[in-house]
């Protein structure tokens, strides 16, 4: 069930919220847990046991670690069990076939691929990291172990952030999960609804619409009957326009989803962390990663980079740590070589900035923005390089060796207004517009009403486009 679908918006969400608000204080987490399980199972029932196993492993290990407070060896074994159990499942579903295929290709072995796991369990990359944050925090004694399995389960499957983040650490919401009375205020609910509407609009009015420019070029992966230009026929200028549109799409799609999640969190009395902070206005790659998918970079910083020594053990060690984190970031995004390349590409950029470039970037005014955008957009080309309809080599030849073909004129004409709106929505300007609009009640209500109605029209009007980050 994706958020921008009719079933979610007009059936699941009203029903769940009503049940949640009506339920007695003590039963709210149970309602949240059960509704979230339905949400999780809606797409694929088969993976229900996966979720159950993940909850049980981390719940029991958490309890055990707390219980063995005085026995370091026992604590370590339980932590290892939770890590192996959680990461093992993630590995099995997401990476096993990739590793087998790669081994076959590189070593000439002939392992048969594992059947039945071509579809990933919904959101497994996100909730695996969330549960790990819990167990590690319990081990570090940063939070007390959760005794109530319903409360813990409600945290793990909580539907707003289940499939696409933000990656909410247990300790971010633990306190609120145990507030039974006055968990939310009307002001908070209203704010949540506003943020949700903005997120929905970002997803359906911008992401899906501007993404159509990219699929005009490469085709629609799961619908071969839709006509397209074809990468090989497109001119270099058109391919750049297309990859720019894809960059817009990826940002609006992902940040729109995060906003919907944050909004729904607020509606239920939870404060989720921000996930995006205008990443495309960054003046360096280092800054970009502080503004893009902040909860993922935060997770890696806290649970990988700093435990490895961060920047406290000399420059060489710092560069090595950076390498490890960026490699893992690449791998997290998908089981394929292009994602690994993409991760290492950022390692190189970050290392270069750390070594000398950052000083120059801080003195520049305009060029650091252009430099950042350029490398980010090229990064997205690498990111999308393995998608259906895209050949990695061809895409980069098209981008960097000027060639003729279908010109971008028609596409600029057709998508021009949308591209301009998209560009504005990538900058804090759009925030300033909202600051103006929300000063008066009527303009505030009108804005939300308009966005809701138009977004609904788009949800109904377009065949729902599946969320891009589904496979991650």
């Amino acid at each position: 069930m994706i958020f921008s679908s009719i079933i979610f918006l007009f059936h699941f969400l009203p029903f769940t919220l009503a049940a949640y608000y009506i339920a007695p204080a003590k039963a709210k987490n149970t309602v949240l847990f059960l509704c979230s399980l339905v949400f999780y199972c809606w797409g694929e029932v088969r993976f229900f046991p996966v979720m159950l196993a993940l909850i049980l492993i981390n719940y029991l290990c958490g309890l055990g670690i707390a219980w063995m407070d005085a026995r370091p060896a026992g604590r370590k074994i339980l932590l290892a069990a939770a890590l192996i159990g959680s990461l093992g499942m993630l590995f099995y579903f997401k990476y096993a076939n990739f590793v087998l295929n790669s081994a076959n290709a590189l070593l000439g072995t002939s392992f048969a691929p594992i059947e039945g796991i071509s579809v990933l369990p919904l959101g497994i990359s996100f909730y695996t990291f969330q549960t790990l944050s819990y167990t590690i925090d319990v081990y570090r004694r940063n939070v007390p172990a959760e005794k109530n399995i319903i409360d813990f389960g409600a945290y793990v499957v909580m539907f707003p952030q289940l499939i696409a983040g933000p990656i909410v650490k247990y300790r971010d919401v633990a306190a609120q999960l145990h507030v039974y009375k006055h968990r939310y205020s009307l002001a908070q609910i209203e704010e949540g609804m506003t943020i949700f509407t903005f997120g929905l609009a970002k997803k359906v009015l911008l992401a899906d619409a501007v993404g159509a420019l990219w699929t005009d070029i490469i085709g629609v992966a799961d619908d071969a009957s839709i006509t397209f230009v074809g990468l090989a026929n497109a001119s270099t200028a058109l391919v750049w326009l297309g990859i720019l549109a894809y960059s817009f799409q990826l940002y609006f799609d992902f940040s729109g989803y995060s906003m919907m999640a944050i909004g729904m969190g607020k509606m239920m009395g939870f404060e989720f962390p921000q996930n995006f902070n205008y990443p495309y206005i960054s003046a360096s790659i280092t800054e970009f990663w502080r503004r893009w998918h902040m909860t993922l970079s935060g997770w890696f910083r806290e649970y990988v980079y700093i435990p490895l020594g961060g920047n406290r053990k000399g420059l060489r060690r710092q560069i090595l740590n950076l390498f490890i984190v960026e490699l893992l970031t690449g791998i997290w995004h998908g089981a394929n070589w292009n994602f690994i390349c993409w991760g290492l590409y950022y390692f190189v950029l970050l290392a270069v900035e750390k070594l000398f470039l950052l000083n120059y970037l801080q003195k520049g005014k305009i060029w650091p923005h252009i430099y950042t955008l350029f490398f980010v957009v090229v990064g997205w080309a690498m990111f999308v390089g393995n998608d259906a309809g895209v050949q990695f080599g061809l895409l980069f030849r098209k981008l960097f060796i000027p060639s003729g073909g279908v010109s971008p004129v028609y596409f600029l004409r057709n998508y021009g207004v949308l591209l301009a709106v998209s560009a504005i929505c990538c900058t804090p300007l759009i925030g300033k517009v909202w600051d103006l609009l929300k000063r008066r009640n009527w303009s505030r209500v009108l804005t939300v009403a308009l966005l809701l109605v138009v977004s609904t029209a788009y949800v109904v009007g377009s065949t729902n486009s599946p969320f891009l980050y589904f496979n991650f």
């Binding site: 069930m1 679908s5 009719i6 079933i7 007009f10 059936h11 969400l13 009203p14 009503a18 199972c41 809606w42 797409g43 694929e44 029932v45 088969r46 006055h182 205020s185 009307l186 002001a187 609910i189 209203e190 609804m193 506003t194 949700f196 509407t197 619409a209 005009d216 085709g219 071969a224 009957s225 839709i226 006509t227 397209f228 230009v229 074809g230 026929n233 279908v406 010109s407 004129v409 028609y410 004409r413 057709n414 998508y415 021009g416 207004v417 949308l418 709106v421 009640n441 505030r444 209500v445 939300v448 009403a449 809701l452 109605v453 138009v454 609904t456 029209a457 788009y458 109904v460 009007g461």
Partner: protein, 391 residues
């Protein structure tokens, strides 16, 4: 909730009220409004509420239930048509797009199929269909006339949105022509004829077909080739049906679409629609007229011609000899004109005729065989290959 938020305090949160009323409102409307069986505009049957059966106890059954329920909510959302029109309005008026719902919006209200190239299935069907037609003309030397009609974008390139990378059909039309002529058939190239009459109303603006007048000019060209005297337009009663919104419109749904006028010539020639159960000429059929006037009351008014696309129909004409027309829906508005020239016109639509043609041709000894397709369906039709099958 906060205790100090007394009754009436809710009014301090207008967005909260709005949001709740909107979502609960749509939800309640959805429960109250009756479900529709079909969507005439979308030309499709709509999913009904899936029944809860014992099947949902299995994982597969439950998955099926979930996915059909999702489809059901999509299809039965209250005001579906209105929402779609609103999206189209925002797309075209606010975002100034030159396409909507996969339809290019050209000048003069002319709409075009968004065809940027052959899709992968068409890379296979196109050569297969060319081979089928050449095989047919090789089997019946001198008898086969192939007419493949270009889309409006070929005749009105100036109306196509600027620089749109629309497929160049002429390259493919030339390929078909060469292949047909090499196999001993005649290719009726109507491109120039239609271009000569481009100032007239020969293509619908909101539908993918040519108009009756466009069909008439192509038909006249065929008559020239065969030495026949064309149907006399002036001596027949033309009936004009205004407010025709065609298939392009039902995809584009633009607020400012200019409706078309559909014309047909009132003829009382009988037509028999056969129930086809095997190769050759069937015995049983139902006799009716050339036009299904009931279709004038529905959205897809073009279906008035020849009662839609039946597998095999036979029209009694006023002329001499017999002709077989193997066709897509472009022929439906042309066939009535053939009544002036032939005594018997047999019409085969291979989409609904699951056999080879040789037995039928042997049974009837046709003077001519006309293969008439629009290029758009010629490149993609998965059934035209049947014309190439012997037997």
């Amino acid at each position: 909730m906060e205790r100090d938020e007394k009754r009436g305090g809710l009014l301090r949160y207008p967005v909260l009220i709005l949001f709740s009323v909107f979502f609960v409102g749509v939800f309640v409307l959805d429960c109250l409004t009756p479900d529709r069986e079909i969507s005439e505009l979308e030309n499709t049957t709509l999913t009904q509420r899936p029944a809860i059966t014992a099947q949902i106890l299995t994982a597969k059954g439950l998955n099926n239930f979930f996915s059909s329920y999702t489809q059901y909510t999509k299809d039965q959302i209250p005001g579906r048509d209105g929402w779609i029109s609103l999206q189209s309005f925002v797309e075209t008026a606010l975002f100034q797009k030159t396409q909507s719902g996969g339809v290019l919006l050209g000048s003069e209200g002319q709409m075009f199929n968004r065809t940027f190239g052959l899709v992968s299935s068409e890379e296979k069907t196109f050569p297969r269909n060319v081979a089928a037609v050449t095989s047919l003309s090789a089997r019946y030397p001198g008898k086969v006339y192939a007419m493949v009609v270009p889309a409006a974008s070929v005749i009105y390139p100036e109306r196509v949105p600027a620089a749109a990378p629309i497929l160049d059909e002429t390259v493919y039309l030339n390929q078909i022509q060469t292949a047909v002529e090499e196999s001993g058939g005649t290719f009726v190239s109507v491109e120039q004829t239609l271009a000569d009459h481009k100032d007239e109303y020969i293509y619908y603006r909101t539908d993918h077909h040519w108009t009756t007048l466009g069909a008439y000019y192509a038909y006249s060209q065929l008559c020239d080739l065969l030495g026949l005297t064309p149907f006399d337009l002036d001596s027949h009663q033309a009936v004009e049906i205004p407010d025709f919104y065609g298939t392009f419109y039902s995809r584009a749904r633009t607020w400012n679409a200019r409706p078309d006028t559909l014309t047909y010539y009132d003829l009382d020639n009988p037509m028999t629609i056969y129930t086809v159960t095997g190769a050759g000429m069937p015995d049983a059929g139902e006799t009716t007229g050339l036009y299904d006037l009931a279709k004038l009351g529905v959205y897809d008014k073009y279906a008035v011609f020849l009662h839609g696309n039946n597998g095999l129909s036979q029209v009694e004409g006023d002329g001499e000899g017999r002709i077989l027309v193997i066709k897509d829906s472009y022929a439906n508005s042309l066939v009535p004109f053939l009544t002036a020239n032939y005594a018997e016109i047999d019409v085969v639509d291979l989409r609904n005729y699951n056999y080879g043609l040789d037995t039928l041709i042997a049974d009837n000894d046709y003077d001519q065989i006309l293969v008439l397709y629009s290029f758009d369906s010629f490149k993609s039709d998965p059934y035209l290959y049947r014309a190439g099958i012997e037997g």
